[in-house]
Amino acid sequence: MSAQKPVQSDDPIELLADSLNVWVGKLSDIVHKVIDTEPIRNVINWARMYSLWPVNITTACCSAEFGAASGARHDLERFGVLPYGSLRQSDLIVIEGTITKKMAKRLRMIYDQMAIPRYVIAMGDCAISGGLFHDSYSIVNGAHEFLPVDVYVPGCPPRPEALEHGIIMLQEKIRSSKVYPQS
Protein backbone atom coordinates (compact mmCIF):
# COMPACT_ATOMS: atom_id res chain seq x y z
CA MET A 1 0.00 0.00 0.00
CA SER A 2 1.50 3.28 -1.12
CA ALA A 3 1.53 6.31 1.11
CA GLN A 4 -1.27 8.70 0.40
CA LYS A 5 -0.37 12.13 -0.87
CA PRO A 6 -1.89 15.01 1.08
CA VAL A 7 -4.84 16.32 -0.85
CA GLN A 8 -4.22 19.83 -2.11
CA SER A 9 -7.22 21.94 -1.31
CA ASP A 10 -8.72 24.20 -3.96
CA ASP A 11 -10.07 26.64 -1.42
CA PRO A 12 -8.02 29.87 -1.80
CA ILE A 13 -8.47 30.80 1.88
CA GLU A 14 -7.06 27.46 3.04
CA LEU A 15 -4.15 27.79 0.63
CA LEU A 16 -3.44 31.25 2.01
CA ALA A 17 -3.61 29.95 5.58
CA ASP A 18 -1.18 27.14 4.75
CA SER A 19 1.40 29.46 3.26
CA LEU A 20 0.89 31.87 6.14
CA ASN A 21 1.62 29.04 8.59
CA VAL A 22 4.85 28.29 6.80
CA TRP A 23 5.88 31.91 6.94
CA VAL A 24 4.97 32.27 10.60
CA GLY A 25 7.04 29.18 11.33
CA LYS A 26 10.03 30.61 9.45
CA LEU A 27 9.60 33.97 11.13
CA SER A 28 9.50 32.40 14.59
CA ASP A 29 12.69 30.47 13.78
CA ILE A 30 14.34 33.76 12.93
CA VAL A 31 13.02 35.37 16.13
CA HIS A 32 14.31 32.42 18.17
CA LYS A 33 17.74 32.79 16.59
CA VAL A 34 17.78 36.52 17.29
CA ILE A 35 16.74 36.01 20.92
CA ASP A 36 19.38 33.33 21.33
CA THR A 37 22.13 35.77 20.39
CA GLU A 38 24.52 36.83 23.11
CA PRO A 39 23.12 40.06 24.64
CA ILE A 40 19.42 39.09 24.71
CA ARG A 41 20.15 35.56 25.88
CA ASN A 42 22.26 36.90 28.72
CA VAL A 43 19.42 39.06 29.96
CA ILE A 44 16.84 36.26 29.81
CA ASN A 45 19.18 33.75 31.49
CA TRP A 46 20.03 36.28 34.16
CA ALA A 47 16.33 36.60 34.96
CA ARG A 48 15.88 32.83 35.03
CA MET A 49 18.93 32.23 37.20
CA TYR A 50 17.84 34.41 40.06
CA SER A 51 14.15 33.50 40.18
CA LEU A 52 14.10 29.76 40.72
CA TRP A 53 10.84 28.60 42.26
CA PRO A 54 11.00 25.07 43.64
CA VAL A 55 7.81 23.00 43.76
CA ASN A 56 6.40 22.15 47.17
CA ILE A 57 7.20 18.48 47.00
CA THR A 58 9.16 16.60 49.61
CA THR A 59 10.12 13.02 49.00
CA ALA A 60 11.94 12.03 52.20
CA CYS A 61 14.12 13.10 55.09
CA CYS A 62 16.43 15.56 53.26
CA SER A 63 13.47 17.94 53.56
CA ALA A 64 14.77 18.72 57.06
CA GLU A 65 17.95 20.16 55.59
CA PHE A 66 16.03 21.89 52.81
CA GLY A 67 13.98 23.50 55.57
CA ALA A 68 17.13 24.50 57.43
CA ALA A 69 18.55 25.93 54.20
CA SER A 70 15.40 28.02 53.67
CA GLY A 71 15.53 29.18 57.27
CA ALA A 72 17.20 32.04 59.03
CA ARG A 73 20.88 31.18 58.93
CA HIS A 74 21.22 29.93 55.38
CA ASP A 75 18.27 31.69 53.73
CA LEU A 76 17.99 30.31 50.20
CA GLU A 77 15.95 33.33 49.23
CA ARG A 78 19.12 35.36 48.78
CA PHE A 79 19.83 33.15 45.76
CA GLY A 80 16.32 33.84 44.51
CA VAL A 81 14.99 30.44 45.59
CA LEU A 82 11.62 30.36 47.34
CA PRO A 83 9.25 27.36 47.41
CA TYR A 84 6.03 28.11 45.62
CA GLY A 85 2.59 26.55 45.89
CA SER A 86 1.58 26.21 42.25
CA LEU A 87 3.58 23.81 40.14
CA ARG A 88 2.47 25.49 36.91
CA GLN A 89 4.42 28.57 37.87
CA SER A 90 7.39 26.68 39.31
CA ASP A 91 10.52 25.76 37.43
CA LEU A 92 12.60 23.67 39.82
CA ILE A 93 12.17 20.32 41.53
CA VAL A 94 14.49 19.66 44.45
CA ILE A 95 14.20 15.92 45.02
CA GLU A 96 14.76 15.72 48.77
CA GLY A 97 15.96 12.23 49.44
CA THR A 98 14.67 8.72 48.89
CA ILE A 99 12.21 8.21 46.07
CA THR A 100 9.79 5.40 46.78
CA LYS A 101 7.97 3.67 43.97
CA LYS A 102 4.73 5.30 45.09
CA MET A 103 6.30 8.77 45.04
CA ALA A 104 8.15 8.25 41.73
CA LYS A 105 4.88 8.22 39.76
CA ARG A 106 3.79 11.48 41.39
CA LEU A 107 7.18 13.09 40.79
CA ARG A 108 7.00 12.27 37.09
CA MET A 109 3.42 13.63 36.96
CA ILE A 110 4.57 16.84 38.60
CA TYR A 111 7.53 17.18 36.25
CA ASP A 112 5.30 16.68 33.20
CA GLN A 113 2.89 19.37 34.36
CA MET A 114 5.57 22.01 34.84
CA ALA A 115 6.26 24.58 32.16
CA ILE A 116 9.54 24.57 30.19
CA PRO A 117 12.26 25.51 31.17
CA ARG A 118 12.33 23.25 34.22
CA TYR A 119 15.24 22.01 36.26
CA VAL A 120 15.84 19.11 38.61
CA ILE A 121 18.22 18.95 41.56
CA ALA A 122 18.72 15.51 43.06
CA MET A 123 19.51 16.14 46.72
CA GLY A 124 20.99 13.42 48.90
CA ASP A 125 22.57 10.05 48.25
CA CYS A 126 19.21 8.30 47.99
CA ALA A 127 18.09 10.50 45.12
CA ILE A 128 21.42 9.86 43.38
CA SER A 129 21.82 6.11 43.72
CA GLY A 130 19.57 4.74 46.47
CA GLY A 131 22.14 5.53 49.16
CA LEU A 132 21.48 3.97 52.54
CA PHE A 133 18.36 2.22 51.28
CA HIS A 134 19.81 0.85 48.02
CA ASP A 135 18.69 -2.72 48.80
CA SER A 136 15.17 -1.84 49.90
CA TYR A 137 12.21 -3.40 48.14
CA SER A 138 10.19 -0.22 47.80
CA ILE A 139 12.49 2.47 46.43
CA VAL A 140 13.77 3.67 43.07
CA ASN A 141 17.57 3.71 42.96
CA GLY A 142 18.17 7.23 41.75
CA ALA A 143 16.18 10.03 40.18
CA HIS A 144 17.93 9.61 36.81
CA GLU A 145 15.80 6.52 36.17
CA PHE A 146 12.74 8.60 35.40
CA LEU A 147 13.78 12.29 35.35
CA PRO A 148 16.55 14.27 33.62
CA VAL A 149 18.66 15.56 36.51
CA ASP A 150 20.61 18.80 36.18
CA VAL A 151 22.58 18.88 39.42
CA TYR A 152 23.43 16.17 41.95
CA VAL A 153 24.04 17.22 45.55
CA PRO A 154 25.68 14.35 47.46
CA GLY A 155 25.47 13.87 51.21
CA CYS A 156 23.28 12.00 53.66
CA PRO A 157 21.74 14.47 54.21
CA PRO A 158 23.71 17.20 52.41
CA ARG A 159 24.52 20.19 54.57
CA PRO A 160 22.65 23.39 53.70
CA GLU A 161 25.93 24.76 52.38
CA ALA A 162 26.09 21.84 49.95
CA LEU A 163 22.57 22.58 48.76
CA GLU A 164 23.52 26.23 48.27
CA HIS A 165 26.52 25.08 46.23
CA GLY A 166 24.22 22.90 44.14
CA ILE A 167 21.95 25.84 43.47
CA ILE A 168 24.89 28.01 42.43
CA MET A 169 25.98 25.23 40.08
CA LEU A 170 22.50 25.12 38.58
CA GLN A 171 22.59 28.88 38.11
CA GLU A 172 25.93 28.57 36.31
CA LYS A 173 24.36 25.94 34.09
CA ILE A 174 21.40 28.20 33.31
CA ARG A 175 23.77 31.08 32.53
CA SER A 176 25.37 29.18 29.68
CA SER A 177 22.24 27.43 28.42
CA LYS A 178 20.11 28.25 25.39
CA VAL A 179 16.92 30.25 25.79
CA TYR A 180 14.84 27.61 23.98
CA PRO A 181 15.82 24.25 25.43
CA GLN A 182 15.02 21.08 23.49
CA SER A 183 12.97 19.51 26.28
Binding site: G67, A68, P83, F133, R159
Partner: protein
Protein backbone atom coordinates in the same frame (compact mmCIF):
# COMPACT_ATOMS: atom_id res chain seq x y z
CA UNK B 1 -44.19 24.18 29.99
CA UNK B 2 -43.22 26.41 32.87
CA UNK B 3 -40.71 25.56 35.58
CA UNK B 4 -42.31 27.63 38.27
CA UNK B 5 -44.03 24.85 40.21
CA UNK B 6 -41.23 22.36 40.92
CA UNK B 7 -37.95 21.26 39.35
CA UNK B 8 -38.34 18.19 37.19
CA UNK B 9 -35.84 15.48 36.33
CA UNK B 10 -35.09 17.19 32.98
CA UNK B 11 -34.04 20.62 34.12
CA UNK B 12 -31.35 19.30 36.50
CA UNK B 13 -29.44 18.11 33.40
CA UNK B 14 -28.72 14.67 34.81
CA UNK B 15 -26.96 15.85 37.96
CA UNK B 16 -28.09 14.13 41.16
CA UNK B 17 -30.82 15.80 43.15
CA UNK B 18 -29.59 17.95 46.05
CA UNK B 19 -31.33 15.69 48.54
CA UNK B 20 -29.32 12.62 47.57
CA UNK B 21 -26.53 11.67 49.95
CA UNK B 22 -23.16 12.69 48.55
CA UNK B 23 -24.58 15.34 46.21
CA UNK B 24 -23.67 18.23 48.49
CA UNK B 25 -20.18 17.10 49.35
CA UNK B 26 -16.88 17.59 47.60
CA UNK B 27 -13.93 15.26 47.85
CA UNK B 28 -10.51 16.92 47.73
CA UNK B 29 -7.12 15.31 47.46
CA UNK B 30 -4.57 17.34 49.38
CA UNK B 31 -0.98 16.43 48.61
CA UNK B 32 1.60 15.11 48.09
CA UNK B 33 2.36 18.23 46.04
CA UNK B 34 0.91 20.75 48.45
CA UNK B 35 2.44 23.22 50.81
CA UNK B 36 0.33 21.94 53.69
CA UNK B 37 0.73 18.21 53.28
CA UNK B 38 4.36 17.15 53.46
CA UNK B 39 5.17 13.67 52.22
CA UNK B 40 1.61 12.41 52.40
CA UNK B 41 -1.87 12.81 51.00
CA UNK B 42 -5.08 13.65 52.80
CA UNK B 43 -8.37 12.74 51.20
CA UNK B 44 -10.79 15.31 52.54
CA UNK B 45 -14.58 15.22 52.16
CA UNK B 46 -16.14 18.65 52.44
CA UNK B 47 -19.58 20.07 53.01
CA UNK B 48 -19.21 23.73 52.17
CA UNK B 49 -15.91 24.39 53.90
CA UNK B 50 -16.54 22.08 56.85
CA UNK B 51 -14.55 18.85 56.80
CA UNK B 52 -16.87 15.86 57.19
CA UNK B 53 -14.24 13.23 56.93
CA UNK B 54 -10.48 13.20 56.36
CA UNK B 55 -8.50 10.09 55.59
CA UNK B 56 -4.69 10.09 55.55
CA UNK B 57 -3.03 8.26 52.67
CA UNK B 58 0.40 7.31 54.01
CA UNK B 59 3.11 5.24 52.40
CA UNK B 60 4.85 7.81 50.20
CA UNK B 61 8.04 7.35 52.22
CA UNK B 62 7.79 3.67 53.07
CA UNK B 63 11.35 2.42 52.70
CA UNK B 64 11.11 -1.00 54.30
CA UNK B 65 13.37 -0.18 57.21
CA UNK B 66 12.30 -3.23 59.23
CA UNK B 67 13.55 -5.44 56.41
CA UNK B 68 16.80 -3.48 55.97
CA UNK B 69 17.58 -3.93 59.67
CA UNK B 70 17.60 -7.69 59.13
CA UNK B 71 20.26 -7.29 56.45
CA UNK B 72 22.77 -5.09 58.35
CA UNK B 73 24.68 -5.72 61.54
CA UNK B 74 23.54 -3.79 64.60
CA UNK B 75 26.11 -0.99 64.26
CA UNK B 76 25.52 -0.47 60.55
CA UNK B 77 21.77 -0.37 61.25
CA UNK B 78 22.06 2.76 63.40
CA UNK B 79 22.10 5.29 60.50
CA UNK B 80 19.11 3.49 58.98
CA UNK B 81 17.23 3.67 62.29
CA UNK B 82 17.80 7.42 62.48
CA UNK B 83 16.54 8.30 59.03
CA UNK B 84 12.77 8.00 59.66
CA UNK B 85 12.82 11.02 61.93
CA UNK B 86 15.99 12.77 60.95
CA UNK B 87 15.18 15.80 63.11
CA UNK B 88 14.78 13.55 66.16
CA UNK B 89 17.56 11.08 65.39
CA UNK B 90 19.01 10.44 68.82
CA UNK B 91 15.73 9.46 70.47
CA UNK B 92 15.05 6.81 67.84
CA UNK B 93 18.63 5.64 68.18
CA UNK B 94 18.09 5.34 71.92
CA UNK B 95 15.15 2.94 71.50
CA UNK B 96 17.36 0.75 69.29
CA UNK B 97 20.28 0.57 71.71
CA UNK B 98 17.94 -0.04 74.64
CA UNK B 99 16.50 -3.12 72.94
CA UNK B 100 19.98 -4.43 72.10
CA UNK B 101 21.36 -3.75 75.58
CA UNK B 102 18.41 -5.55 77.14
CA UNK B 103 19.31 -8.65 75.11
CA UNK B 104 23.05 -8.34 75.72
CA UNK B 105 22.65 -7.53 79.41
CA UNK B 106 25.06 -4.61 79.05
CA UNK B 107 24.61 -1.58 81.29
CA UNK B 108 26.31 1.61 80.03
CA UNK B 109 28.42 3.62 82.52
CA UNK B 110 26.69 6.47 84.35
CA UNK B 111 28.39 9.22 82.34
CA UNK B 112 27.31 7.55 79.13
CA UNK B 113 23.71 7.47 80.36
CA UNK B 114 23.80 11.18 81.16
CA UNK B 115 25.29 12.05 77.78
CA UNK B 116 22.53 10.07 76.11
CA UNK B 117 19.94 12.11 77.97
CA UNK B 118 21.79 15.30 77.04
CA UNK B 119 21.60 14.61 73.31
CA UNK B 120 18.02 13.36 73.62
CA UNK B 121 16.88 16.59 75.22
CA UNK B 122 18.77 18.71 72.68
CA UNK B 123 17.12 16.68 69.94
CA UNK B 124 13.70 17.17 71.50
CA UNK B 125 14.16 20.94 71.35
CA UNK B 126 15.44 20.83 67.77
CA UNK B 127 12.56 18.64 66.66
CA UNK B 128 9.96 20.83 68.35
CA UNK B 129 11.53 23.97 66.88
CA UNK B 130 11.45 22.54 63.39
CA UNK B 131 7.83 21.55 63.93
CA UNK B 132 7.03 25.05 65.25
CA UNK B 133 8.59 26.72 62.23
CA UNK B 134 6.43 24.68 59.86
CA UNK B 135 3.43 25.54 62.01
CA UNK B 136 4.27 29.20 61.47
CA UNK B 137 4.36 28.68 57.70
CA UNK B 138 0.96 27.02 57.77
CA UNK B 139 -0.43 30.12 59.47
CA UNK B 140 1.30 32.41 56.98
CA UNK B 141 3.47 33.78 59.77
CA UNK B 142 6.88 34.00 58.11
CA UNK B 143 8.61 35.36 61.20
CA UNK B 144 7.61 32.23 63.06
CA UNK B 145 9.21 30.22 60.27
CA UNK B 146 12.51 32.08 60.43
CA UNK B 147 12.94 32.46 64.18
CA UNK B 148 12.64 28.83 65.31
CA UNK B 149 14.82 27.64 62.42
CA UNK B 150 17.40 30.25 63.36
CA UNK B 151 17.35 29.26 67.03
CA UNK B 152 17.47 25.60 66.07
CA UNK B 153 20.92 26.28 64.66
CA UNK B 154 22.11 27.10 68.18
CA UNK B 155 21.51 23.53 69.22
CA UNK B 156 22.64 22.12 65.90
CA UNK B 157 26.03 23.76 66.50
CA UNK B 158 26.18 22.26 69.98
CA UNK B 159 25.27 18.82 68.69
CA UNK B 160 27.80 19.16 65.89
CA UNK B 161 30.59 19.91 68.35
CA UNK B 162 29.50 16.91 70.43
CA UNK B 163 28.97 14.33 67.70
CA UNK B 164 30.45 15.67 64.47
CA UNK B 165 27.18 15.74 62.52
CA UNK B 166 24.48 18.35 62.13
CA UNK B 167 21.39 16.19 62.47
CA UNK B 168 22.31 12.55 61.98
CA UNK B 169 24.48 11.73 64.95
CA UNK B 170 24.76 7.93 65.30
CA UNK B 171 26.04 8.94 68.72
CA UNK B 172 24.42 6.24 70.82
CA UNK B 173 25.97 2.80 70.41
CA UNK B 174 25.41 -0.37 72.42
CA UNK B 175 27.40 0.06 75.63
CA UNK B 176 27.38 3.85 75.82
CA UNK B 177 28.08 6.79 73.54
CA UNK B 178 30.75 7.35 70.92
CA UNK B 179 32.71 10.17 72.50
CA UNK B 180 32.99 12.43 75.52
CA UNK B 181 32.10 16.11 75.80
CA UNK B 182 34.39 18.48 73.88
CA UNK B 183 36.22 21.21 75.76
CA UNK B 184 34.10 24.18 76.77
CA UNK B 185 30.85 22.44 75.83
CA UNK B 186 29.13 22.88 79.19
CA UNK B 187 29.64 26.66 79.39
CA UNK B 188 28.50 27.14 75.79
CA UNK B 189 25.45 24.92 76.30
CA UNK B 190 24.39 26.77 79.45
CA UNK B 191 24.78 30.12 77.69
CA UNK B 192 22.75 28.96 74.71
CA UNK B 193 19.92 27.38 76.67
CA UNK B 194 19.54 30.52 78.78
CA UNK B 195 19.43 32.63 75.63
CA UNK B 196 16.92 30.22 74.12
CA UNK B 197 14.56 30.56 77.08
CA UNK B 198 14.58 34.32 76.62
CA UNK B 199 13.76 33.78 72.98
CA UNK B 200 10.78 31.63 73.97
CA UNK B 201 9.39 34.64 75.84
CA UNK B 202 9.72 36.65 72.65
CA UNK B 203 7.90 33.90 70.74
CA UNK B 204 5.16 34.21 73.34
CA UNK B 205 4.68 37.87 72.52
CA UNK B 206 4.84 37.61 68.77
CA UNK B 207 3.04 34.32 68.23
CA UNK B 208 1.46 32.45 71.12
CA UNK B 209 -0.53 35.46 72.29
CA UNK B 210 -1.16 36.66 68.75
CA UNK B 211 -4.85 36.51 67.69
CA UNK B 212 -3.64 35.32 64.30
CA UNK B 213 -2.68 32.12 66.06
CA UNK B 214 -5.09 31.90 68.99
CA UNK B 215 -8.22 32.49 66.93
CA UNK B 216 -7.29 29.64 64.63
CA UNK B 217 -6.09 27.26 67.30
CA UNK B 218 -8.25 27.72 70.41
CA UNK B 219 -11.21 25.34 70.33
CA UNK B 220 -10.20 24.03 66.88
CA UNK B 221 -9.52 20.37 66.24
CA UNK B 222 -10.54 19.09 69.63
CA UNK B 223 -9.41 15.61 70.63
CA UNK B 224 -11.10 14.67 73.88
CA UNK B 225 -9.24 12.86 76.65
CA UNK B 226 -11.34 9.73 76.16
CA UNK B 227 -10.83 9.72 72.39
CA UNK B 228 -7.08 10.31 72.69
CA UNK B 229 -6.75 7.26 74.93
CA UNK B 230 -9.03 5.12 72.74
CA UNK B 231 -7.07 5.94 69.59
CA UNK B 232 -3.79 5.06 71.28
CA UNK B 233 -2.09 8.39 70.67
CA UNK B 234 1.18 9.18 72.41
CA UNK B 235 3.49 12.04 73.17
CA UNK B 236 2.48 15.69 73.04
CA UNK B 237 -0.83 14.77 71.36
CA UNK B 238 -1.83 12.66 74.35
CA UNK B 239 -0.52 15.18 76.88
CA UNK B 240 -2.34 17.96 75.01
CA UNK B 241 -5.57 16.09 75.77
CA UNK B 242 -4.86 16.13 79.50
CA UNK B 243 -3.34 12.68 79.99
CA UNK B 244 -0.26 12.65 82.19
CA UNK B 245 1.79 10.07 80.31
CA UNK B 246 5.49 10.34 79.69
CA UNK B 247 7.81 7.36 79.50
CA UNK B 248 10.65 9.38 80.99
CA UNK B 249 8.60 9.51 84.20
CA UNK B 250 6.53 6.34 83.97
CA UNK B 251 9.36 4.00 83.11
CA UNK B 252 12.58 5.95 83.80
CA UNK B 253 15.39 4.90 81.48
CA UNK B 254 18.98 6.08 81.14
CA UNK B 255 19.50 8.88 83.66
CA UNK B 256 15.94 10.18 83.72
CA UNK B 257 15.27 8.55 87.09
CA UNK B 258 17.83 10.83 88.73
CA UNK B 259 16.74 14.01 87.00
CA UNK B 260 14.17 16.45 88.22
CA UNK B 261 11.58 17.50 85.67
CA UNK B 262 7.87 17.97 85.20
CA UNK B 263 5.49 16.42 82.69
CA UNK B 264 3.45 19.16 81.08
CA UNK B 265 -0.17 18.58 80.18
CA UNK B 266 -3.02 20.77 78.98
CA UNK B 267 -6.63 19.78 79.58
CA UNK B 268 -8.45 21.13 76.51
CA UNK B 269 -7.27 18.86 73.70
CA UNK B 270 -7.46 21.52 70.99
CA UNK B 271 -4.71 22.68 68.61
CA UNK B 272 -3.70 25.40 71.05
CA UNK B 273 -3.14 22.91 73.89
CA UNK B 274 -1.02 20.67 71.72
CA UNK B 275 1.11 23.61 70.60
CA UNK B 276 1.56 24.86 74.14
CA UNK B 277 2.56 21.39 75.36
CA UNK B 278 5.39 21.49 72.83
CA UNK B 279 6.43 24.92 74.05
CA UNK B 280 6.39 23.87 77.71
CA UNK B 281 8.44 20.81 76.81
CA UNK B 282 11.05 22.99 75.13
CA UNK B 283 11.41 25.02 78.33
CA UNK B 284 11.61 21.85 80.38
CA UNK B 285 14.21 20.34 78.05
CA UNK B 286 16.45 23.38 78.15
CA UNK B 287 16.22 23.28 81.95
CA UNK B 288 17.08 19.56 81.78
CA UNK B 289 20.16 20.22 79.64
CA UNK B 290 21.56 22.54 82.30
CA UNK B 291 20.68 20.08 85.03
CA UNK B 292 22.37 17.19 83.21
CA UNK B 293 25.54 19.22 82.72
CA UNK B 294 25.55 20.09 86.40
CA UNK B 295 24.97 16.53 87.63
CA UNK B 296 27.23 14.89 85.02
CA UNK B 297 29.28 12.19 86.80
CA UNK B 298 32.87 11.50 85.83
CA UNK B 299 34.12 8.24 84.43
CA UNK B 300 34.12 6.38 81.12
CA UNK B 301 31.41 7.00 78.55
CA UNK B 302 31.40 3.59 76.93
CA UNK B 303 31.55 0.00 78.01
CA UNK B 304 32.68 -2.72 75.68
CA UNK B 305 29.68 -4.44 74.10
CA UNK B 306 29.85 -7.27 71.58
CA UNK B 307 28.40 -6.84 68.09
CA UNK B 308 26.01 -9.66 68.73
CA UNK B 309 22.29 -10.02 69.27
CA UNK B 310 21.93 -12.90 71.73
CA UNK B 311 19.10 -15.38 71.38
CA UNK B 312 15.93 -14.04 72.94
CA UNK B 313 13.35 -11.32 72.74
CA UNK B 314 13.54 -7.75 73.98
CA UNK B 315 11.45 -4.62 73.95
CA UNK B 316 13.10 -1.21 74.14
CA UNK B 317 11.04 1.93 74.29
CA UNK B 318 11.74 5.61 74.82
CA UNK B 319 9.84 8.88 74.80
CA UNK B 320 10.81 10.52 71.52
CA UNK B 321 9.79 14.03 70.52
CA UNK B 322 6.64 12.70 68.86
CA UNK B 323 5.71 10.13 71.44
CA UNK B 324 6.63 6.62 72.34
CA UNK B 325 9.11 4.97 70.02
CA UNK B 326 9.70 1.28 70.49
CA UNK B 327 11.62 -1.67 69.15
CA UNK B 328 10.58 -5.25 69.58
CA UNK B 329 13.56 -7.40 68.75
CA UNK B 330 14.11 -11.11 68.29
CA UNK B 331 17.73 -12.23 68.36
CA UNK B 332 19.25 -15.46 67.02
CA UNK B 333 22.80 -15.10 68.25
CA UNK B 334 24.17 -13.53 65.06
CA UNK B 335 25.26 -9.94 64.48
CA UNK B 336 21.86 -9.11 62.98
CA UNK B 337 18.45 -9.38 64.63
CA UNK B 338 16.17 -12.09 63.29
CA UNK B 339 13.28 -9.65 63.30
CA UNK B 340 12.80 -6.13 64.63
CA UNK B 341 9.45 -4.39 64.87
CA UNK B 342 9.76 -0.65 64.77
CA UNK B 343 6.91 1.54 66.05
CA UNK B 344 7.22 5.30 66.18
CA UNK B 345 5.18 8.09 67.72
CA UNK B 346 3.85 9.41 64.42
CA UNK B 347 2.71 5.95 63.42
CA UNK B 348 0.53 5.78 66.50
CA UNK B 349 -0.69 9.36 66.18
CA UNK B 350 -1.82 8.81 62.61
CA UNK B 351 -5.11 7.52 63.98
CA UNK B 352 -5.78 10.93 65.49
CA UNK B 353 -5.70 12.79 62.15
CA UNK B 354 -9.25 11.83 61.16
CA UNK B 355 -10.56 12.50 64.67
CA UNK B 356 -8.96 15.94 64.86
CA UNK B 357 -9.98 17.10 61.40
CA UNK B 358 -13.66 16.16 61.69
CA UNK B 359 -15.77 19.31 61.81
CA UNK B 360 -12.85 21.67 61.22
CA UNK B 361 -12.96 24.31 58.48
CA UNK B 362 -10.81 23.64 55.42
CA UNK B 363 -8.79 26.79 56.07
CA UNK B 364 -7.83 25.44 59.49
CA UNK B 365 -6.88 22.03 58.16
CA UNK B 366 -3.07 22.46 57.94
CA UNK B 367 -2.78 23.99 61.39
CA UNK B 368 -5.04 21.37 62.97
CA UNK B 369 -3.42 18.28 61.59
CA UNK B 370 0.10 19.64 61.95
CA UNK B 371 -0.59 20.28 65.66
CA UNK B 372 -0.50 16.48 66.05
CA UNK B 373 3.17 16.71 65.03
CA UNK B 374 2.76 13.97 62.47
CA UNK B 375 6.00 13.37 60.62
CA UNK B 376 5.11 11.20 57.61
CA UNK B 377 8.63 9.80 57.14
CA UNK B 378 8.57 8.52 60.70
CA UNK B 379 5.12 7.00 60.35
CA UNK B 380 5.87 5.21 57.07
CA UNK B 381 9.33 4.02 58.18
Amino acid sequence: MTTTDKPTQENTLGSPSPDEPGAQTLTLSVGPQHSGSGHMRLIVELDGDIILNAQPDPGYVHRGIEKIIELRNIIRSIPVIERPSIIDASNLNHAWVRAIEELQGVEPPARGQYLRCLLNEMNRIMSHLYWLSIYGVFLGHTTMFMWPLGDRELFIDLAESLTGARITYSYLVPGGVRRDLPQGFAEEAIKRTEYFEKRLDEYENIFFKNPLFTSRAKGVGVLSRQKAIELGTTGPTLRGSGVDADLRKDEPYAAYGELDFKVHTRPDGDSYSRVMVHVDEMRESSQLIRQILKKLPSGPVRRKAPIVVPRGEAYGRVESARGECSFYMIGEGGDKPYRARYITGSYRNMAAISAVLEGVRLADMPTSWWSIDYWPVEADR
